[in-house]
Symmetry: none
Subunit: 211 residues, 4 copies
């Protein structure tokens, strides 16, 4: 009575659903549109409030198409995280490659830019990196962990004499500062915004300069 799918489903655990790679040109464009729409809606409304119907509508796609590629809401969210993670990790890798040649001010700037550029994804970042969402073993937590580790690595390359746990703690601080800057950017308009953002940057630069 309980779900009972294909007979095999009773024996082997069904494979965890994953995003399907589009094969034809049309599909690739559509998946991109769906991801964009998903990013926008998740960012605006949060995971729970975002509706698959609205995401599909905003992508100009029928609901069935959305489900063709992303068999459920979780998978879509994961795909979004993965896409975002790629950007961010690539950016961090680039910084790492040149870390040795940067001074504190430069490194601070470069790190802060990682999350702040890509205006499109900035507000998604807020959702994705949010510590709430948490469910053990699920993506956002892994992403945060991952990013913090990469930042710590950059710090260790940058100042090889830094103790490992020092680098770790600093990475946490820096990562928080990076997210905070996004928050400062994203809030709609408030007195002192521009100046505050400038101060925040300066603050981070000094934090690294003092090492």
């Amino acid at each position: 009575m309980t779900s009972q799918k294909s007979s095999s489903a009773r024996l082997q655990t069904a494979p965890p659903p994953t995003a399907k790679e589009p094969k034809r040109k049309r599909g690739i464009a559509r998946v991109a549109k769906l991801l964009d729409a998903g990013a926008a809606v998740f960012a605006e409304q949060g995971y729970k409030a975002a509706t698959m119907t609205e995401i599909a509508a905003r992508a100009g796609a029928p609901i069935g198409s959305l489900y063709q590629f992303f068999p459920n809401k979780d998978v879509l969210a994961d795909a979004l995280i993965a896409r975002y993670a790629e950007h961010v990790e690539a950016a961090l890798d680039r910084i790492r490659a040149e870390a040795r040649e940067l001074d504190g001010t430069q490194l601070g700037d470069r790190l802060l830019d990682v999350l702040v550029t890509h205006a499109t994804e900035r507000s998604l970042a807020l959702s994705l990196l949010d510590a709430r969402w948490e469910q053990p073993g699920v993506r956002p937590g892994i992403l945060r962990e991952n990013l913090r580790r990469r930042i710590a690595e950059i710090l260790s390359i940058w100042r090889p004499d830094l103790a490992e746990d020092q680098a770790q703690a600093m990475a946490v601080v820096l990562f928080q500062a990076m997210k905070s800057l996004v928050q400062l950017h994203e809030e709609k308009r408030y007195p002192g915004k521009a100046e505050a953002i400038a101060q925040w940057r300066g603050w981070v630069q000094r934090y690294l300069g003092e090492i």
Copy 2:
């Protein structure tokens, strides 16, 4: 968000629904319990995922009773914000009263503590102060604005020579730092947590010390 379909709505503007003030002792206690339950559930699940039924259940109250005092979910959320605002504003007022006698380190500590103490409400704070909740004219934005203004006032009292827009920008930075510390606290457990929190505090103290 407010759906409001009472037939009269077409003719006269219906009065905006508001939380009902409890009159008797019994009511006061019940409202407190409902608010506590609401805070807990909103904090755990977020606004959308929180259900009125669970909130009532967790308060040990019948659902009808919940609606007696809070005619809809929005009103409950607003009431939660208001209650939280009271705490926080009171705390800021206390700091303001003694601002003149504090040095940078002390002021930093005191400000940071404002959001971090009250462990119960800490994760609610994250929800409430989140820039994403935004809905034009709705509470969280007003609260943020309000708190930033008060912080600016404290700064002006503390360093009377500070230009007004300087104080304003610093207030934005400090408020962001305060929220960030809550985030650092609230995320479940991650390497470097304790040390990072300590560094964050030190960072804020220095920020104020440098003035």
Copy 3:
């Protein structure tokens, strides 16, 4: 991300959903109507094809009401089985009480009547007792097992010298004969129906008479 309900749900396994007992008069009547509608629709269309919407509509109830009492389709089906089981088991108990005084013809007739009377539930029986539906540990299988055991008991009381496994095998045969008679009754109209039903009865009577 996966469902995440009340925080407790993460720790304790959520209690398996069960039918809610109606408390007020209105509810009792409504539940009865819902069960009748469910019986009709399940009987006509089978478990999978039956839709909750149609069941609610046929009971003249809004869908929400259906779910108020039967939190999901499985629970409704289980309740139906339970209701049916009660009738049938009671009928078998009555036969058992007088088994000793019956001759083979009488016992055969009485057993055959158990499933055939209650015209309303006759076609539900076909669904419920159907060996397909099967899913280990789920109701219909348990019901069949149960009924066969009771029939075997009746046989043992009726002819105390019967070996236990003899009684068991005979119970299987008789139970199958009982279900078959329902099938003979339920098929809409076909040549020879009345006479065939009579022969089937006679056949069963002789089967018991020969013991």
Copy 4:
């Protein structure tokens, strides 16, 4: 069940969709595989729960290919019935050819074997011959009618002095007994299974022996 909304349907009656006869060797093999897969899936899950996608997948064929030969689910089901009917009718024809030389025991055995052999199709038979499915003018009813008529013919040949309506009623009884034996076989495992099956056979043999 047939939804049929081609625009032409409003003007000319659309020709009822039918299974397409495969022309080439490749097609014949593929159709056979599709039918096998269909039989398996329908048998396991029932008509409604079986999905065209799974049937195609299990046949290793693309879904488009399935629809090439069977323009909708009903047509596939009908084709399955037709294929099954052929087997069974052929088997009955063989019995008819030698009916005159059989005694009751032998005839009973031969008839019972008709549905019980072909283990693969046994559980499909349960689905196909099931009196629910009924939809006016649809295949399973016709098949049942057909089989009963053939059984009646066999009886008339076997005992030429049997009145026609006597043969008819007996055919109904025998056909029911044949289906019941399949049910006894198909139910997974239960105490007394083997012995009950033996008794059922004996019972049918005696039924015919008494004529």
